[in-house]
């Protein structure tokens, strides 16, 4: 927010170069994944709704995008959207209910010529209960679900497994597979070119329906090596980078770079291997939470550029409550609980499985748990092997580390589904599943958030997961980059960014 305050009169023009830390996935609105992808693609595609990307504290408000208005039936199953008028795709063709319908059919209607099986599979999580999509008139469209789905508008504004809008003319011309090579939507920037492994270039969409974006072109460069990305920013080759390392914050600030403070809506969390019998005992799980000093973790490992987290709902989430606490740091208690569960000092031993990127966290945890008499061994793996191991754990595996989260309350059900992949049998936790089901399918908009909060509470009480920290410094910008806001979600809006001289 301070960047805006300092800003003078915004200027148009220039090339904004953004350093990404990951190669984005396909630029296809229905196949995309990862935030880093969305940080690129939300300049090209828009959804029916969007999050308020000027809100730095959250929960972000849902704003109209390609839809101007929406309403839900009383039973919570049917959503009707009024579509924005006068919007065109990048090739000039019209945005209307027909176009939306083709998007819907692409992911849900096997009879459609361009039904895309893989998109459908990926979107099934939210669209599995979709019973019909109906063109009411040129500017009105209706979604009908078999169950109440009050979270729908916010889901529509997400990056993954959701229905952002692509130009149907493109898949009609190039086929479903060809879309990613010719990504076209309605967004403020148009796709120019992409070299996988190197860069993606966008140019300003002169016909954009919203406010005119400032910079003429945006170049996204993919620079996975943290040090190189840092150096490229320092040398002025980049204007903006994501995934700043805590170690680098001071260096950057000392040299006049901006490292805005904020919170995304994700968190680092530790989950248990439920196939390991040791973790069947809730006391053991609680002990491991009591034994963890999250404040110290944030201070020591992240140089204070992270906030400790106590809830499985990340900050920025609509159901996030900063006040809730799970099991606070209390090593004595942890030791006592372990004792109770039958583990004396050194009796409990397991491995922590991590992605190399989180190796230092694991090392820190290792010494932390030593203090409560738990012996931890580290297995640090490359990304795929990590996922494979974490989601197909070996017997002695204990903990694994992930980072994820979203602004939508339904994230809780996703996170919980993910835990199931790690061997948690939902049937063992009927209270949790019950609470989640109740929240997900409520038809009462006023009760919805509270239901999710209490679902989170059941989860918290059962100690099925250890929320850990949330990073507070994630992006860094050159000193001449103005108008950048780190909203309380996992991406940003570049159409508001401008370059000072």
């Amino acid at each position: 927010e301070d960047t805006q305050a300092a800003a003078g009169e915004p200027q148009y023009g220039g090339d904004l170069v953004v350093g990404l830390y990951l190669e984005p996935l396909a630029l296809d609105p229905h196949r995309q994944g990862y935030w880093e992808t969305y940080r690129v693609s939300n300049n090209i595609f828009e959804g029916l709704t969007r999050e308020d990307t000027t809100d730095t504290t959250g929960p972000t408000e849902i704003q109209p995008a390609l839809a101007t208005d929406w309403s839900v039936s009383d039973d919570g199953t049917t959503w009707t959207f009024d579509l924005r008028d006068g919007v065109t795709f990048h090739d000039g063709s019209d945005w209307n209910a027909e176009a939306l319908d083709k998007n819907v059919r692409r992911i849900s209607d096997p009879t459609y010529e361009f039904y895309d099986e893989s998109s459908a599979a990926k979107l099934k999580q939210w669209f599995g209960t979709l019973t019909s999509g109906t063109v009411v008139d040129d500017d009105t469209y209706q979604f009908a679900f078999s169950k109440p789905f009050l979270g729908f508008p916010r889901i529509l504004a997400q990056s993954m497994a959701t229905l952002t809008i692509g130009n149907p003319a493109v898949w009609e011309q190039y086929g479903n597979d060809g879309f990613a090579d010719h990504p076209e939507g309605t967004g403020p920037y148009k796709f120019v070119s992409r070299t996988v492994g190197d860069r993606i270039e966008l140019e300003k969409n002169e016909e954009y329906w919203g406010d005119e974006p400032y910079v003429d072109t945006i170049t996204f460069r993919i620079i996975p090596n943290n040090q190189t990305r840092l150096a490229s920013l320092l040398s002025g080759e980049l204007d903006l980078i994501s995934y700043v390392q805590p170690e680098d914050v001071e260096t950057l600030e000392a040299q006049g770079f901006q490292v805005p403070e904020g919170t995304g809506s994700s968190l680092l969390y530790i989950s248990y291997n439920f196939t390991n019998p040791a973790f069947e005992d809730v006391r053991v799980r609680q002990a491991l939470i009591h034994g963890l000093d999250r404040q110290k973790l944030a201070d020591e490992l992240y140089n204070g550029y992270a906030e400790p987290q106590y809830s499985f709902q990340p900050p920025g989430n609509e159901a996030y409550d900063p006040e809730v606490r799970d099991f606070e740091y209390d090593p004595e208690k942890a030791i006592a609980l372990l004792e109770e569960a039958g583990y004396g000092e050194g009796d409990l031993a397991f491995t922590i499985v991590v992605d190399v990127a989180n190796q230092n966290t694991a090392e820190w945890l290792q010494s932390q748990y030593k203090e409560i008499g738990v012996d931890v061994e580290i297995v640090s793996l490359d990304r795929t092997s990590y996922i494979a191991r974490a989601y197909g754990p070996e017997e002695n595996d204990g903990l694994s580390l992930d980072e994820y989260g979203g602004t939508y309350a339904e994230w809780l059900s996703q996170g919980f589904a993910g835990l199931a992949g790690k061997g948690l049998d939902p049937a063992d936790f009927p209270e949790i599943t019950g609470a989640i089901d109740a929240a997900a399918s409520t038809a009462d908009p006023d009760a919805r958030i509270d239901l999710w909060k209490s679902a989170e509470e059941t989860l918290r009480n059962e100690a099925v997961v250890i929320p850990t920290v949330n990073l507070t410094r994630y992006y860094a910008l050159g000193s001449n980059v103005e108008g950048f806001v780190w909203p309380a979600t996992n991406w940003y809006d570049l159409s508001k960014v401008w370059l000072a001289d």
Partner: protein, 317 residues
């Protein structure tokens, strides 16, 4: 066997080698845990949903069918489609591959020129100061991790002195050939260092040994000396190992520059392969390995033929 026949035979041999490589890569990919879908969706999707996506990508078909389909794709469908990037494999790999070749060429050139020069100086001044000093220079250079040393180069030349760019192949807004060269210098040097030491050491020993040979005396006795003797006769006699090592170096760099690529963010095939591995993107991994394998095989073949051609005793078989 005649030379031509021999080359033909070697060319024919490439096929089975490629076949084995392709089968192995395929099997390693499929038989080890983890898959591209799980990699992307495990955190938020339930196991059943993930299974559904796998179906959509045909990953649940019998292995042999997948293999056969992929082999077919190699020839007609641009190597199949990347599961993660959703694009034809060779469309993704080809530009990166060319970039890698550019970097490799620069690396090999620098390596050959500097390595041979240092080896020559050292060999010609065996056990004297120039020998020790110049060898120390390459020894130091080559025994530093590229991963590490590359960053130091960046720190010095790009951040402190601001002479050279940090990363990538082109400056903001693109640039001409000069710009490319500027981007090529640091990665080129880093790549060259990987094998420079081996080359320099072989040149050095070669020279020392050749200088003891009788023919060296013959020419010395005729007043030949200095560069002509070193360059022509010694040079020619140590050429086979030198060519061999340079051939190896080319091969090495094609995948070995992975770390150079990573440090200097050179958009090359190594990075792609690493991405592919990280995402367990089967078609991309397989296509990449086959492409690299083919490269290696060709480079090795050319090297072998060249080395044999350089040996008069082997040439006329």
């Amino acid at each position: 066997m005649g030379t031509l026949k021999h080359i033909g035979w070697r060319l024919v041999n490439i096929l089975p080698v490629l076949l084995i490589v392709s089968v192995l890569t395929f099997l390693i990919g499929r038989l080890t845990p983890g898959d591209p879908i799980q990699g992307q969706y495990a955190r938020t999707f339930s196991p059943e949903q993930i299974e559904g996506i796998r179906d959509a990508y045909g990953l649940n078909l019998p292995l042999w069918q997948q293999y056969v389909k992929w082999i077919g794709d190699l020839f007609v469908a641009g190597g199949g489609r990347s599961i993660v990037q959703e694009a034809p494999v060779f469309d993704i790999l080809w530009p990166n591959f060319l970039n890698t070749l550019v970097l490799t060429a620069a690396g090999v050139l620098i390596c050959a020129v500097v390595g041979i020069a240092i080896g020559t100086v050292a060999g010609a001044h065996h056990r004297r100061f120039a020998d020790r000093f110049s060898m120390l220079f390459v020894q130091v250079g080559s025994n530093l991790s590229v991963y590490w040393f590359g960053l130091i180069l960046i720190w010095i030349f790009a951040l402190q002195l601001k002479w050279l760019p940090v990363s990538g192949m082109q400056s903001r807004g693109g640039g001409g050939f000069g710009d490319l060269l500027a981007h090529l210098i640091l990665p080129g040097i880093s790549a060259a260092l990987i094998s420079m030491l081996v080359l320099a050491r072989f040149v050095r020993i070669g020279i020392v040994q050749e200088k003891q040979s009788d023919y060296y005396k013959t020419f010395a006795s005729q007043g030949a000396g200095g560069l002509s003797l070193l360059g022509k006769h010694v040079g020619r006699n140590i050429l086979p190992p030198v060519v061999n090592i340079i051939g190896l170096e080319i091969g090495t760099l094609i995948t070995g520059v992975l770390f150079v690529e990573s440090v200097f963010n050179w958009p090359g095939i190594g990075t792609q392969l690493l991405n592919a591995v990280n995402g367990k993107d089967y078609p991309l991994i397989q296509g990449g390995v086959v492409l690299i394998a083919l490269c290696y095989l060709v480079v090795n073949l050319v090297t072998d033929v060249a080395v044999d051609a350089l040996n008069p005793r082997l040439r006329r078989r």
